[in-house]
Subunit: 205 residues, 2 copies
DNA sequence: TTTGAAAACTTAACACTGTTAATTATATTT
DNA sequence: AAATATAATTAACAGTGTTAAGTTTTCAAA
């Protein structure tokens, strides 16, 4: 029985190798430049070998995406220390903006591309990492309402509003749309001002 | 001189034909399925002929995008009749959501894809249609502040916040992310609730 | 230790993609 | 009618994801 377990381990190692090189590749050269053949060249396998370890390219991208979520959640560990819900929500937003601007390729994959979601449907799996992040958001919103620092409303509605707002900021920035509203050098600053404005506005007077 | 003018006219007609068929194609089959060869087949020309009328595929997509903006602006004509700035802003948001959900392929091209912006840079042109829409948004925000129904803040900051919010809603919905927050059948309703919430929240008490 | 089956991997190929250079056909002008 | 522009095409390049068929390697049973 030990032998079949070792084989499985080796298989997992190859899988990991493929994923690692895939991520390096699309962090270095950008999402659109990642191809099955280029990944294969990096891991020193024939292109078709990758299909023995993953169903298709979408599945590879899906796992890269998952690792992006891990990266993102790491940023949010320190959040638990902040007791004021509004301030915690604010810091969560700041983290979100920073993550998106610092890792545009990851962000693209996680929240803009449809490939990972297609893989998700094909695999019959759940969006566990994403769900985790959303759950955290809902918790904070709920907490803020409970403590009376936020006007009462449906939690999903407010969570959706906040998420959409920060996602809108990051995705418009990444896709060069925000520099049509303010000069390119002011984009990042104004993004943070917009977030500040939202938090200040939604805070119960 | 009449002959050179007629030739120019013919050339424009072919250009229009290419653009029309391109738009039909990507409304019918989706953005990702549009290829130069498929467009060429529709207009009954060889694929390479399209390059005599447009620099590249991006340029074709850019002009499709422009026509999307025209479509969008049409929806906003009736807006001038609403005198209350907040309500006007609200209706503008509703129009935005509806346009995005009803024309996902257009929306994708206008606000998510990078191809049209690349063409814009290559052509050395301005984002005139987009600018027009943003200008309208800024005007309303300014008006609302002047009339004292909105807390005073930098116009660009608030405009960015509002735009990002509605864009976030539409783009997350289009890319199947919002159904991770609420059940698929509730997405559209909750989107509108989020927009309502924002407007209600930002309105000066 | 050799045989035979199973697992791992590769080669060749299909049907696409955007795009360029060279070539042919069609008007227009001389 | 011949020469010249203009318009459109064919052939080709370099790339994409993916599948089927063939080859090599690994490993347990004879």
């Amino acid at each position: 029985m030990g032998i079949v377990a070792r084989k499985e381990k080796q298989k997992q190692e190859v899988r990991s190798l493929i994923l690692e090189e895939s991520m390096k590749l699309f962090v270095e050269e950008g999402f659109s430049k990642v191809s099955v053949r280029k990944i294969a060249e990096r891991v020193q396998y024939s292109p078709t070998t990758l299909y023995l370890y993953f169903k298709d390219k979408n599945e590879i991208l899906f796992y890269c995406c998952e690792s992006g979520f891990k990266k993102m959640l790491e940023h949010n560990i320190a959040l638990g220390l902040i007791s004021d819900p509004i301030e915690r929500l604010h810091q969560m937003g700041v983290n979100y903006l920073n993550f998106g601007l610092e890792n545009p390729e990851y962000y693209d994959l996680m929240f803009i591309q449809e490939a990972p979601m297609s893989a998700l449907i094909d695999m019959g799996a759940g969006w566990s990492s994403g769900d985790q992040a959303l759950e955290a958001l809902k918790m904070i919103v709920q907490d803020a309402m409970d403590k009376g620092v936020l006007v009462h409303a449906k939690v999903e509605t407010v969570a959706m509003a906040v998420w959409s707002m920060v996602h809108g900021l990051v995705s418009l920035a990444i896709r060069q749309r925000l520099d049509k509203l303010v000069p390119a050098e002011d984009v990042e600053k104004t993004m943070h001002e917009s977030l500040d404005w939202l938090l200040k506005t939604m805070k119960k007077a």
